[in-house]
């Protein structure tokens, strides 16, 4: 048989396989259970890449836990400010249906094809009619303890979960509603001017047909009432960390001033007690909740920022600041904010009867007991699975691990025991926000691979009428002033605003509307646009941040370019803040409307350019991160170019044999390499480097060192890290001083020496200048090898010298196991490191034991150094090549620490693996899948459009002074082939820095042009 025949046969087999797959139904839709930040990220990624998404959420709003938080570590960003735009985006996403107050009843089917029964509880408010004005809530007479505010304050029986809730429709709490309970009241119905209240609303049952299921139900929190000795529930000034989060919040019960619940006094001495409900197998949960050390530190810092009189103290066991830049944050808390850290567990809390102050009893490390009085105590409560987790798991047919978290494997961290059902977020194990978001994108990536054949089949595009050409026309402005029920009208005299608008130049129509955003209101607007031949439209109602897109769509339906619209915010920024000052509020509303009219006169239609996308990815780095990302992108149906500097794939994982749970790393690596090298969509370049990349998202061109030229749409940077080569502890000067990696290799081949003493030293080359960060993997590495030694040779001795044991999350099990096996743990401080003596055949060690309060000595058969991780040396070059910033330690800086953990500020460039920060194998895999998910969002588009709100460059008046090129954070102005400044609008984010600095005024941001803004300023000051 000749070769061609052979190849043809192979091809036939492949084609028949593809046919086979096609014959099965694959739905291009996914179900996401849980509306927290992880589920939201998955929904947005899938929705943005051509899949239909159904999000089922038990609460009346999406948002999950993150919306309850005040600020987030380590950046101190406001949590709500970050998540709110995402909620808005998701709430009005054409491909995403949000089912609130809903639960899954049953699931049938198989991967690619599931039928899911949903039960949705009645809301009693019609979301189509409700405008979110909140008058009902104001008029409702019934007060109910607020669960959202953690019982610190009350809400009404008709309520929204929080001010920025999505959907912005209130809900009636039937169990507390006077009408439902006693048959009378109906105040909400009486006052609702849009007739949205529906007491006859009923439970709905329906079926959804989806191809994949993503579980992101999140977690519950430990109830500290179970630990009586800490006084929660008995003493009012003992609160949970989540309660304190609400106290800190500007929208919380005390509007952000720090008060204690008993007497609303300002506390001075505030104590945090760590590990309440965590790391406690006897009374609570054995695992570490991963986030409490950091959130307590953050709360202490923010508390101090709110009120400088506060003296925070944190009682803890181990400081688990294992994440990127976390140790630096803790150092700052200590040194800049004066947060006091005491390594001790509090044994009891008592209340001083008269003052309500709290007496904490705790023992120091050397056993000495102390009593200290505090004004307020905060219990850092941990995560635990929801009460009904078993039933939940059964419904989906997935297995749980012994602790009640979704069971996953080291190498498949987001896959449940059921193929086709994925898990993300804290249900998979305790984790913080960025890791949850990462997993959100990761499941999206996985889902895209699984459903790739059905991409685009469930989404529809709305047909639009052609746009009317308004160029050269004089402005004909229509102004619609909204009563918003009485929201605006009770404070602002609408008729005065309307008549004032009528007087304005270019205004050809002005009228009032009860609800501009209601269906009939929008129809009316469309009708007037046509009737009066309007070419600019203004609605004076609520904030553009939520409602601009809605009205833009309305005028687009009427044939107007959507950038000829503007909202005048006379609700959030006028009527709601000036209640009772009707005359002044009306005056201000008129001024706001005038300002917007002045601006609108200068509006011009904006046409956005679109460009083709090369459906191909460049992955830089052939370690496990790069390979995982490459496979996942290739499985989505896109071609991938994988570039590895070395002659061999695998990176650092080549030296790894076992994970903490003893999974076989080498055979996993082998399988992965095999899959990569044989994947029809992946081209592997080994021993090759990237030389140069030009272009922008969707259209990159890269030249490799082997002279190959590649066209691609995205870049995944996975250049990895390297292990620190120690110079300390006499490494290299004595044959019995080795590093963990060497020990691991030996243990893989030979059993440990019987009776030998292994002394491990942690934090070698980590957590001190000039590498002041935690390498995250070393604690587990040491414990993994210690367990291996003890299990293979129980009479061998292992001593681990550590600073803090950081076996976060479910890894804590192994810490316990090591201790149970007899591994000795002795703590040291960075300024009192163990001293090593290598004069004799066996190294001798000397160190200070804080428990014994004296110096001790020991002889080691082996000293094993737990060495840290470093950024890969090639990062320097890559960072210059792609203009990527790095943090102080040299790791790449992501676009946003919390919500864009695998993105770079530059569109189309993604990050994963050790290049981001030190992390474990399973975390690297999750992050690589996340990068693939984010890449899939770009690559799934045939064309991408530039945004409308971008800076426009006028080449005619530009003199190429380069100010814009230098200041732009997104690299969008550049020097073109003619040597002049040119602007790449695709990269432009519309921030306007270029426009502000340009001495020739050659840049103008659409809808924020200088003439428009100046007209607003003039109008504001009373000129027209």
């Amino acid at each position: 048989m000749d070769i061609t025949a052979n190849v043809n046969q192979q091809l036939e087999i492949q084609e028949s396989k593809i046919e086979n797959r096609k014959s099965k139904i694959t739905k291009g839709a996914a179900l996401i259970v849980g509306g927290g930040i992880g589920g939201m990220q998955a929904a947005l990624d899938l929705g943005d890449s051509g899949f239909k998404v159904h999000m089922v959420q038990r609460d009346s709003s999406i948002g999950g836990t993150m919306v309850m938080l005040d600020k987030t570590f380590p950046t101190g960003d406001c949590s709500m400010c970050m998540i709110s735009p995402k909620m808005v985006e998701l709430g009005r996403h054409a491909n995403i249906d949000v089912h609130t107050l809903a639960e899954v009843v049953s699931v049938e089917g198989e991967p690619g094809n599931y039928h899911v029964k949903i039960r949705q509880a009645p809301r009693f408010v019609d979301p189509d009619k409700c405008t979110g004005c909140g008058i009902c809530e104001k008029k409702c007479p019934k007060l109910v303890t607020s669960v959202f505010e953690q019982g610190l304050t009350t809400r009404k029986a008709i309520y929204s979960l929080f001010a920025q809730a999505v959907p912005n429709t209130r809900v009636i709490d039937k169990d507390n509603c006077l009408f439902f309970q006693r048959g009378r009241c109906r105040a909400c119905e009486k006052f609702c001017t849009s007739k949205a209240i529906n007491f006859d609303d009923t439970e709905k049952n329906y079926e959804l047909h989806v191809g994949a299921i993503i579980l992101s139900p999140g977690l519950a929190r430990y109830n500290p009432i179970k630990r009586q000795e800490l006084g929660f529930g008995r003493f009012k000034n003992v609160i949970t960390s989540l309660q304190f989060e609400r106290i800190l919040s500007a929208s919380g019960p005390y509007m952000g001033t720090i008060k204690r619940p008993l007497d609303e006094k300002h506390p001075v001495k505030v104590a945090w007690i760590q590990c309440v409900g965590s790391r406690d197998p006897h009374r609570a949960n054995p695992w570490c909740s991963s986030v409490c050390c950091m959130y307590a530190t953050k709360q202490a810092v923010i508390a101090k920022e709110h009120d400088n009189h506060i003296h925070p103290t944190i009682f803890y066991m181990d400081m688990r600041a294992f994440g990127k830049d976390f140790d630096k944050y803790v150092d700052r808390a200590k040194n800049q904010y004066g947060v006091r850290y005491i390594r001790s567990m509090v044994s009891s809390v008592h209340e001083q009867a008269r003052t309500g102050n709290l007496i904490l009893r705790y023992s120091l490390e050397n056993g000495q007991f102390m009593d200290e009085i505090f004004d307020m105590v905060i219990l850092s409560i941990g995560f635990e699975p929801h009460e009904d987790v078993k039933a939940f798991a059964e419904q989906f047919g997935i297995e749980l691990n012994t602790h009640g978290f979704a069971k996953t494997e080291q190498f498949t961290p987001i896959e449940t025991s059921q193929p086709g059902i994925f898990v993300t977020g804290t249900f998979q194990g305790p984790k913080d926000i960025p890791e949850t978001v990462t997993q959100g994108s990761a499941v999206a990536g996985k889902t895209m691979s699984m459903l790739s054949s059905a991409r685009g089949t469930e989404v529809s595009v709305k047909p639009l009428p052609p746009e009317t050409d308004v160029s050269g026309q004089e402005a004909r402005i229509g102004v619609f002033v909204c009563h918003c029920g009485i929201n605006i009208a009770q404070t602002v005299h609408i008729d005065q605003v309307v008549s004032a608008a009528k007087e304005m130049k270019n205004v050809v129509h002005a009228e009032n509307m009860l609800y501009a955003c209601a269906q009939d209101g929008q129809e009316k607007i469309k009708q007037i646009v046509k009737e009066k031949n309007l070419n600019r439209v203004i609605v004076a109602s609520c904030t553009p941040r939520t409602h601009q897109p809605l009205f833009q769509e309305t005028i687009r339906d009427a044939g107007l370019n959507k950038y000829l619209f503007e909202l005048a915010d006379i609700r959030e920024q006028c009527s709601w803040c000036h209640m009772g000052q009707n005359e002044k509020a009306t005056e201000k509303a008129i001024k706001i409307v005038n300002m917007v009219i002045a601006k609108a006169r200068y509006f011009e239609p904006v046409h956005t350019a679109s460009f083709n996308v090369t459906p191909s990815a460049l992955v830089i780095g052939g370690g496990i991160a790069g390979m995982t990302a490459a496979l996942s992108i290739a499985d989505q149906g896109f071609s991938v170019h994988l570039v590895e500097k070395e002659k061999q794939l695998g990176g650092l994982v080549n030296k790894l044999y076992r994970t903490l749970d003893q999974s076989d790393v080498q055979s996993f690596l082998e399988k992965t390499i095999d899959a990569v090298e044989h994947h029809p969509k992946i081209s592997v370049y080994k021993g090759v480097e990237v030389k140069k990349t030009d272009g922008f998202v969707g259209n990159f061109k890269t030249q490799l060192s082997n002279q190959t030229d590649i066209d691609h749409g995205v870049i995944v940077i996975a250049v990895g890290g390297e292990e620190y080569k120690p110079g300390e502890f006499s490494y290299g000067k004595h044959n019995r001083i080795i590093v963990q990696r060497e020990l691991e290799k030996r243990l893989e081949k030979t059993a440990p020496e019987s009776g030998a003493h292994y002394v491990m030293i942690q934090c070698v080359g980590s957590r001190e200048e000039s590498f002041n960060y935690c390498s995250r993997v070393c604690c587990q590495d040491a414990i993994k090898n210690a367990i291996m030694i003890k299990e293979k040779s129980p009479d061998a001795h292992v001593t681990i010298l550590y600073r803090d044991i950081r076996t976060y999350g479910l890894r804590e099990d192994y810490y316990k196991k090591a201790r149970d096996l007899g591994v000795r743990f002795i703590r040291f401080e960075v300024d009192k490191k163990p001293e090593i003596d290598i004069e004799s055949a066996k190294p001798k060690l000397k160190l200070f034991d804080y428990m014994l309060n004296r110096e001790i000595e020991m002889t080691a058969d082996y000293v094993v150094l737990s060495t840290g991780l470093r950024p890969h040396p090639s990062m320097e070059k890559i960072s210059k090549l792609y203009k990527l910033t790095r943090n102080l330690d040299g790791f790449f800086l992501e676009a946003h620490v919390k919500l864009r953990p695998v993105d770079f500020p530059f569109e189309g460039v993604f990050l994963c693996g050790l290049a981001h920060a030190p992390k474990n194998l399973d975390e690297t895999i999750s992050q690589a899948l996340a990068a693939s998910g984010r890449a899939g969002v770009v690559l799934s588009h045939d064309k991408l459009s530039a945004s409308g709100i971008i800076s426009k460059h006028n080449k005619q008046i530009c003199m190429s002074c380069l100010s814009c090129v230098r200041i732009c954070p997104f690299d969008s102005p550049y020097i073109d082939e003619t040597g002049k400044v040119c602007h790449n609008e695709v990269k432009c984010m519309g921030c306007g820095l270029c426009a502000a600095i340009c001495p020739a005024k050659a840049f103008q941001v659409n809808n924020f042009k200088d003439d428009q803004i100046l007209a607003m300023i003039d109008a504001c000051a009373g000129l027209n």
């Binding site: 003199m959 002074c961 380069l962 100010s963 230098r966 200041i967 340009c998 001495p999 020739a1000 005024k1001």
Partner: protein, 222 residues
């Protein structure tokens, strides 16, 4: 490029005393690139002068305008009317533009809005440094491409003076010794031996010493 630096508001204000209609007139080439006198800076200057007038309670109408270059006849056409309107002009151009504008409008009082500082380059955003003194007789070929006339405080042509210390000029630690730079560059070019060639006495006639200079190119005349 010609680098300039804005004069203080008080100085400009003092110059326009007594006029009723003042036009602040930008030049959108060199001095715009160094953020001193472009059309945008003219706008800002006019605004600040108007506020000064308000503070001082002086009745004066101050407007702004600008053209591409105040050293070319053709560009002035578009602004003749605005210039005619004004009693006085504050030109934000370099000394060239100020004089050119003055020549064109012989009856208009003209004030400089900026100080013309030197011929230089953008060292980094916000920092401009002198590179050339337009001596008209370039010796850069002998000095490794670094001009000792513009960049040595004594414009020494044959090497550093005895005050060169650690690469810095004797008159300021913030100033690079031009000759150190020349030596470094010659070393990098592996041409340090050329240093010993004596640079002959310079013909300064092409500099200021020869009187106002002129370049005549018949081939480009129209």
């Amino acid at each position: 490029m010609i680098v300039g630096k804005q004069k203080s508001i008080d100085e400009v204000w003092a110059m326009i005393q007594g006029y009723k209609k003042v036009l602040v007139f930008g030049c959108n080439t060199c001095v715009a690139v160094c953020h001193a006198g472009g059309n945008k800076e003219a706008e800002v200057m006019a605004s600040m002068l108007r506020m000064k007038a308000k503070q001082e309670n002086v009745d004066i109408d101050i407007q702004d305008s600008g053209i591409e270059r105040q050293c070319e006849h053709e560009f002035f056409e578009s602004v003749t009317e605005r210039i005619e309107w004004a009693d006085a002009i504050v030109s934000m151009a370099c000394g060239i533009g100020v004089q050119f504008t003055a020549e064109k409008f012989s009856t208009k009082p003209l004030m400089p809005g900026i100080n013309t500082t030197f011929l230089g380059a953008t060292e980094k955003p916000g920092v401009w440094t002198e590179k050339c003194q337009a001596c008209g007789n370039c010796i850069l070929g002998m000095t490794a491409g670094i001009c000792p006339i513009a960049r040595c405080a004594k414009r020494l042509m044959n090497g550093p003076c005895g005050g060169s210390t650690k690469g810095k000029c004797e008159i300021s630690k913030d100033l690079d010794c031009a000759w150190q730079l020349i030596i470094d560059r010659l070393t990098a070019l592996n041409r340090l031996n050329e240093y010993e060639t004596l640079i002959p006495i310079k013909d300064w006639s092409t500099d200021r010493a020869g009187g106002p200079r002129k370049v005549v190119r018949e081939d480009v005349m129209v």
